[in-house]
């Protein structure tokens, strides 16, 4: 089955992104497809490469990047939510005159249309949030 996942919360504050990750992993293990993971609201903070959690804690950002790489997932960060929270890729850096970028490996910044498209093209949209 074709799934899409929406994550509305950032890492380490609420369980939502952990639940979403475990759900995604279980779905992929069962042979299902995840056509997109859309990070919205504070969920965009899952896509910064500047986090350095203690070594004995889970690295939530890297975990998403690794899962994305292993399964060729489309990890999409909402652009408007990202601009508000300082999640920046090369294009956003130039467009907004910033001197750095911090988008994590495997993530891309795009618009809300990607969420609507995911809702239409997937068979189930599963939302994780607070």
């Amino acid at each position: 089955m074709k799934f899409a996942i929406q994550v509305n919360e950032g890492p380490y504050q609420h369980q939502a992104t952990d639940s979403a990750y475990q759900f995604a992993k279980a779905a992929l293990d069962a042979g299902h497809e995840i056509m997109r993971v859309f990070f919205y609201h504070d969920g965009v903070n899952n896509g910064t490469n500047l986090t350095t959690p203690p070594q004995d804690d889970r690295n939530i950002v890297n975990r998403w990047s690794e899962l994305g790489k292993a399964h060729d997932l489309d990890l999409v960060v909402c652009v408007a939510a990202a601009q508000r929270r300082g999640i920046v890729d090369e294009g956003e850096m130039q467009r907004n005159g910033k001197d750095a970028q911090n988008i994590a490996d495997g993530f891309r910044i795009s618009g809300l249309g990607q969420l609507i498209e995911a809702g239409i093209q997937s068979e189930r949209l599963v939302v994780f949030g607070d």
Binding site: Q22, A26, H32, V127, F128
Partner: protein
């Protein structure tokens, strides 16, 4: 048309479980996970409401129960414990998923 309702809030923090039960039709499923698993315990203030929801099947996520020290004997009757693979199966088996976040 069956719906999987997911509830991730404790019924003592938010009204999402009660709201969900107001909408859940016969034949639908309710999965309690994260702090929502407190709604699956027997003898608490929402247990009667859960028991009264006829034709609705209730599930609780095992890893979230374990993380909160809720053993299976503390669960209300009729609650089925599932793991993440079971969560995925519920999403597949029902026609849509409605998150009561």
């Amino acid at each position: 048309m069956s719906t999987l309702h997911t509830v991730n809030k404790s019924p003592f923090e938010k009204n999402s479980l009660a709201d969900c039960l107001g909408y859940a039709k016969e034949g639908s499923a309710v999965l309690m996970y994260e702090d929502g698993v407190y709604g699956a315990m027997k003898g608490n203030a929402v247990a009667e409401k859960v028991a009264a929801a006829s034709g609705v099947k209730f599930y609780a996520l095992g890893p979230d129960l374990k993380a909160r020290g809720i053993s299976e004997e503390k669960l209300a009757e009729g609650i089925e414990v599932v793991d993440y693979a079971g969560f995925v199966n519920l999403a597949v088996e029902n026609d849509k998923v409605s998150a009561w976040v």
